[in-house]
């Protein structure tokens, strides 16, 4: 079980964090290629949201939250279709976690890695704790926070040595 790399993409499709944890898992590509990859993925993610073949039937719209008191007055919207969540290839597996604000966490693991969604949520917690609470961090800009780097590295190392 190995976690290869982590990429964080901001809501505009820019690469703001990129770290490799395990050499040899993925090909080495230049920072420029990583930027291109982040932008491409951002676009593809938007398209995969649109491609949803199952359309929401009108009956579905009002069915779910009727048990909540007072919910009858609220206009119910259908659950927005999510974009790409898991990508599988022969050599690796990519899990994508899209936050409410549109920041994307991409975790590259080997194909047998289990519980990646737990891992990725823990990474998101660390991001909220050590990046968002850092008063010197500028929103949407590349992440350069020592605390985040250290905590993330020790957490992933723990998983990779299991």
């Amino acid at each position: 079980m190995t976690v290869f790399a982590l990429i964080i993409i901001n809501k505009a499709g820019g690469l703001i964090y990129n770290r490799t944890f395990h050499e040899g898992g993925l090909n080495k590509i230049s920072t420029n290629d990583y930027l291109v990859l982040a932008g491409t993925f951002h676009g593809v993610h938007a398209i995969t949201t649109r491609l949803n073949p199952v359309k929401n039937a009108p009956g579905d719209r009002t069915s779910t939250p009727s048990s909540v008191p007072g919910a009858a007055n609220i206009v119910n919207r259908p659950e927005p279709s999510s974009g790409l969540e898991v990508l599988e290839s022969e050599n690796f597996r990519l899990q994508c976690f899209n936050t409410m604000t549109g920041t994307k966490f991409l975790l590259f693991t080997d194909t047998t890695q289990a519980n990646v969604d737990v891992t990725i949520r823990r990474v998101y917690e660390m991001y909220s704790d050590y990046v968002m609470k850092n008063p010197f961090y500028q929103l949407e800009m590349p992440i350069r926070c020592d605390m985040f780097d250290r905590k993330l590295l020790s957490y992933i190392r723990e998983i990779n040595n299991r």
Binding site: L26, D33, V44, I47, L51, V54, K55, S81, S82, S89
Partner: protein, 159 residues
């Protein structure tokens, strides 16, 4: 397991075959909300929208395949991706013929199914057909009775 649709793209990036198994109640959301759920005047025909979907699907698998090969090496192959609503399976032959299938999220890997379609249906009924052209411009030669019937039977057998 539910199979939503199936596409074949040739090496010139053209969609040469597409088929949908969606029940009409699902594919045609009445009255106004269109594929993305936004109300929009339905000026364009259903066929035009299906063509747009095929283009979007090709763009997606093309980008993801290139991404996978860049990261995983030239021998790596893109297999599938899953969203909260559907799963897309991909199989590419050596001659750059691309088979794409959309299913529900719970279905297992359909790579072998796509491979079966390639060897048992495509090769048997399209490639070995002496009347079929080499290039399938506009789906020419693919839309023959045997292929379509075999495909429909095969897919319905899976569901």
């Amino acid at each position: 397991m539910v199979i939503y649709s199936f596409y074949i793209f040739d090496r010139h990036t053209e969609c040469i075959y597409s088929k949908s198994w969606l029940p009409p109640s699902l594919s045609e959301a009445p009255p106004n909300p269109t594929p993305d759920g936004h109300p929009r005047p339905d000026r364009r025909s259903k066929a035009a929208r299906a063509g747009d979907d095929a283009k979007l699907i090709f763009g997606t698998v093309f980008s993801l395949r290139n991404m996978v090969r860049k990261l995983g090496g030239d021998d790596d192959a893109f297999i599938s991706y899953r969203t909260g609503q559907y799963k897309l399976h991909y199989y590419e032959t050596v001659s750059n013929l691309r088979f794409v299938m959309l299913t529900d999220t719970a279905s297992p890997s359909m790579r072998n199914v796509l491979h079966q379609i390639y060897i048992n249906l495509w090769v048997e009924y399209v490639v070995k057909n002496p009347l079929s052209p080499v290039e399938h411009k506009g789906g020419e030669g693919v839309k023959n009775e045997l292929f379509e019937l075999g495909l429909d039977q095969f897919i319905r057998g899976l569901m």
